[in-house]
């Protein structure tokens, strides 16, 4: 380590590297002029421009210059620091220079790419950004990242197929998993489907073994009917408070015999069946729910609402009913987190033209799935809700709640083309004489085997009409639906009657994710799904180190992609845990106790309770708890005596950038 050169006493020797980024910067910004300008600045020993500073040659050049030119500060003017700051820090570290003696100037995303028609002005701006970066670089100090041990444990939030897959992969690799599921049972959306495309496998048949594995796995602690209530800490050491909401049924004693539900007098529409079937106030959502333990719905239970009944307790032979059960709080510490909270299907009641909720025989794709489930509310038969008879003519409407600017749901939900095709094929398998028509804008059959499935569907006689249905009107006596649509390939408007209409609804982010996002500090994209760190290179990571994403919580996807992403997220989550330690960024400020007056203004500003009063002899001072500090700097701004000093983004560095820009003549050696 070149300690002497990097010490605060040594004269700064700055190397500036101006990147062309191929043509991305060089086509707009005159990189040679910027590099020449850089070399004219005080303390700049060498300035170069190069086509891709981040490639091997670029990085080697920086390394060589550090050694040969005895550089002790490096400025790279290139893409956003959010892209390659990490890369160049590694370059410095490998060359024996403290990695925090680097400053990146953003002359791509915030310059060349946004001022394409103004080459001269873009070049001037790039020079400004370089002078700002150099002025900050002169004031950088070497910093040490702290190494801490990681807790070999992961929290998985969400017990659907994605959460389950991630949990199993992590548990199989020897990591302790805490799997938290909001519902009383695990399985998520996949447990609600009848068959899956394109294999036409029975969803439950392929899912159940995984769910049983989760319940039985020695490395997985399962929390159902539970929520994450509190969350703090950072990669390697997150502190989580899980609340197990009372089921009022003792899971150790419940055998899943179902007598309680048989005897319960209260019937409630079953949410698991999207209202098609009914359950009791003491219930499991479906006969093959895992775990096979019952839960009391206190909103409808007669004992909880009126203080009467208690029939379930009377008939339970295991003594499992406990009306006094309390919520249980569990505090755990984990090293990493996987968020797999899934999605909600779009509710089409708001689309008045389609009549969902008004007309009996307008249903959604998920409702068809529940019907197709052999253990479902209609015994595996797809029927019309008005007369419970099987339909002879079915219409599927695509892109309901997707690709719709008016509804502000502009994105494609990916799965609907395939599931409509699957549902149409199921109908045809049951009765080839059934007419099934899919009204589409585009058919997206993108996955492995999907195009072949689409062709098979056409061969089986599924009809396809390219055009959106503009309105649905019910025939009052037959309850058939009259669809008015434009067949765009024929160029004609047609009115046609169908027995049953299925709206292929898209995937929406769960409403509860808003709260969860705030708790975990995870930003969500414009559609409401959790944001990945980088859409191409880090689709499983979030901007919070140690928290990963899997499944539709990140973006609509089918089971194949959910499983693939879950395994990817598990692998990401395992890295720092298998290594056993992780580097913590030096972001915590230090209090200069000579200046600190113990006023406590900073203590009040800290949301993370990282600032605490302490005594230095007789004087009251404040100390920083580095394990809690997130490095936001609010306290640094708040301190009236400037006694708290930030390690990065210091007052002097920010002031220097302002001065270098507005009063460049003041930038002296």
């Amino acid at each position: 380590m070149n300690e002497v050169a990097a010490s605060s006493e040594a004269v700064p020797r700055v190397g500036v590297y101006v990147c062309h980024c191929g043509k991305n910067i060089a086509d707009t910004v005159d990189v040679k002029k910027v590099s020449e300008f850089a070399s004219s600045l005080p303390n700049v020993v060498i300035a170069r421009d190069y086509v891709h500073v981040c490639d091997e040659v670029g990085q080697d050049t920086i390394s060589r210059d550090i050694k040969e030119q005895k550089l002790n500060r490096v400025v790279v003017a290139a893409c956003s620091p959010k892209v390659h700051e990490v890369t160049f820090r590694r370059t410095l570290a490998k060359s024996g220079l403290n990695p925090y003696l680097l400053e990146v100037g953003n002359i791509r995303e915030q310059c060349s790419w946004v001022h394409i028609d103004n080459k001269d002005l873009a070049t001037e701006k790039a020079k400004d950004l370089v002078i700002m970066a150099v002025s900050k670089a002169l004031l950088l100090r070497p910093l040490e990242a702290k190494e801490i041990e990681t807790t070999k444990s992961t929290l998985v939030i969400g017990g659907g197929i994605a959460g389950v897959q991630a949990a199993l992969d992590l548990a199989d690799s020897g990591i302790k998993v805490h799997l938290v599921e909001r519902a009383s049972n695990i399985g998520g959306r996949m447990a609600q489907w009848g068959k899956v495309f394109p294999t036409m496998d029975c969803a439950a048949c392929i899912l159940m073994p995984k769910l049983v594995n989760v319940v039985q796995h020695p490395n997985i602690t399962l929390y159902t009917h539970s929520e994450v209530k509190d969350f703090s800490g950072s990669l390697g050491n997150f502190k989580v408070k899980i609340v197990r909401k009372p089921k009022y049924v003792d899971e150790e004693k419940c055998t899943g015999c179902g007598t309680c539900a048989q005897k319960c007098p209260v019937k409630v529409p079953n949410e698991f069946d999207f209202g098609l079937g009914q359950r009791k106030a003491i219930y499991i959502p479906s006969p093959n729910a895992i775990p096979q333990k019952y839960t009391i719905d206190t909103d409808h239970c007669l004992y909880f609402t009126k203080g009467v009944c208690k029939v379930c307790q009377k008939f339970c032979t295991s003594g499992a009913i406990n009306y006094e059960q309390q919520p249980q709080t569990v505090d755990i510490q984990v090293g990493t987190v996987v968020v797999a909270t899934g999605y909600d299907p779009f509710d089409p009641s708001g689309i008045l033209e389609y009549g969902f909720g008004k007309y009996d025989n307008v249903i959604t794709g998920p409702m068809v799935e529940r019907m197709a489930d052999a253990m479902g509310p209609t015994g595996g038969k797809i029927i019309r809700l008005s007369d419970k008879k099987p339909p002879k003519k079915v219409a599927f409407l695509q892109c309901v709640g997707s690709r719709d600017e008016k509804l502000r749901l502009a994105y494609c939900s990916r799965v609907c083309c395939m599931y409509a095709l699957k549902d149409a094929m199921m109908l045809k398998e049951e009765d080839p004489s059934i007419e099934a028509t899919i009204f589409y804008i585009d058919i997206r059959a993108f996955g492995k085997g999907y195009e072949e499935f689409y062709v098979r569907g056409q061969e089986r006689g599924v009809k396809f009409v390219r055009g959106k249905v503009s309105s649905i009107v019910e025939e009052p006596d037959t309850k058939r639906l009259r669809l008015r649509y434009e067949d765009t390939l024929l160029g004609r408007t047609i009115v046609e009657a169908f027995d049953l209409v299925v709206l292929s609804v898209g995937q929406l982010p769960r409403k509860e994710d808003q709260e969860l996002g705030k708790l975990l500090g995870l930003p969500r994209g414009i559609e409401g799904f959790f944001m990945e760190a980088h859409p191409k290179l880090r689709p499983n990571d979030t901007v919070v180190d140690g928290i990963y994403l899997a499944g539709s919580a990140q973006y609509p996807k089918d089971i194949t992609d959910a499983v693939a992403q879950a395994s990817g997220a598990a692998s990401r989550a395992a890295i720092s845990l298998q290594v056993g330690k992780v580097q913590i960024e030096p972001v915590a400020p230090t209090v200069d106790e000579n200046y600190c007056g113990g006023c406590g203004i900073c203590v009040g500003t800290c949301t993370f309770n990282a600032l605490k009063f302490d005594k230095q002899g007789e004087k009251r001072v404040v100390r920083v708890d580095e394990s809690l500090c997130k490095g936001c700097g609010s306290c640094v701004a708040a301190c009236p005596l400037s006694a708290i000093k930030a390690p990065q983004f210091t007052d002097q560095q920010i002031a220097a950038q302002v001065k270098a820009l507005l009063r460049p003549e003041t930038l002296r050696r």
């Binding site: 956003s80 946004v114 001022h115 949301t607 701004a637 983004f649 002031a655 507005l662």
Partner: protein, 156 residues
């Protein structure tokens, strides 16, 4: 040609007139990422802004803004996460309280309050960031250069 001469020539070619200088303090997690997204999406906006990255708008000491006005900037933009979405929970709330107070103070100093603009821009709002820069440049062109600059430079 000196750098300010290049700038003047370029603005003459543009049709002449005053080109305001704006310093933007953007937070790493939301607004800085939003500005990056504007770049990724190739949204074009006026060149007048220079961005300084901070981790959180809560980091912004009012003296940074004051120094910027003292040194001659025509406008200061502070952009952070939307209320409720701050990566550090409530840094942006501290920022808005400090900056609202600061606005009142700069009014007393003789600076138009439009020169200090506080906005919330999320990481997915590239378009919004570009719009904010455009509207701020337009607004500053109407009210003219920083009135303090003459006073200060005459005292140098």
């Amino acid at each position: 040609m000196s750098r300010s001469e290049v700038r003047d020539q370029a603005s003459q070619q543009d049709g002449g007139g005053f080109e305001p200088r704006i310093i933007g303090f953007l937070c790493n997690w939301c607004s800085y990422a939003g500005a990056d997204l504007a770049g990724l999406s190739r949204m074009q906006y006026p060149h007048n802004i220079r961005i300084i990255r901070v981790m959180c708008t809560g980091r912004i000491d009012p003296t940074f803004v004051l120094q910027a006005f003292h040194d001659g900037t025509d406008g200061v933009l502070v952009a952070g996460c939307h209320p409720g979405d701050c990566h550090y929970m409530a840094g942006n709330e501290k920022a808005i309280r400090r900056l609202n107070l600061l606005k009142a103070y700069i009014a007393e100093m003789g600076l138009e309050t439009e020169r200090l603009r506080v906005e919330w821009v999320s990481a997915s709002e590239g378009e919004r960031f570009a719009d904010i820069v455009r509207s701020m440049v337009d607004a500053l062109k109407k009210i003219g250069p920083n009135p303090l600059t003459e006073t200060v430079s005459s005292k140098r």
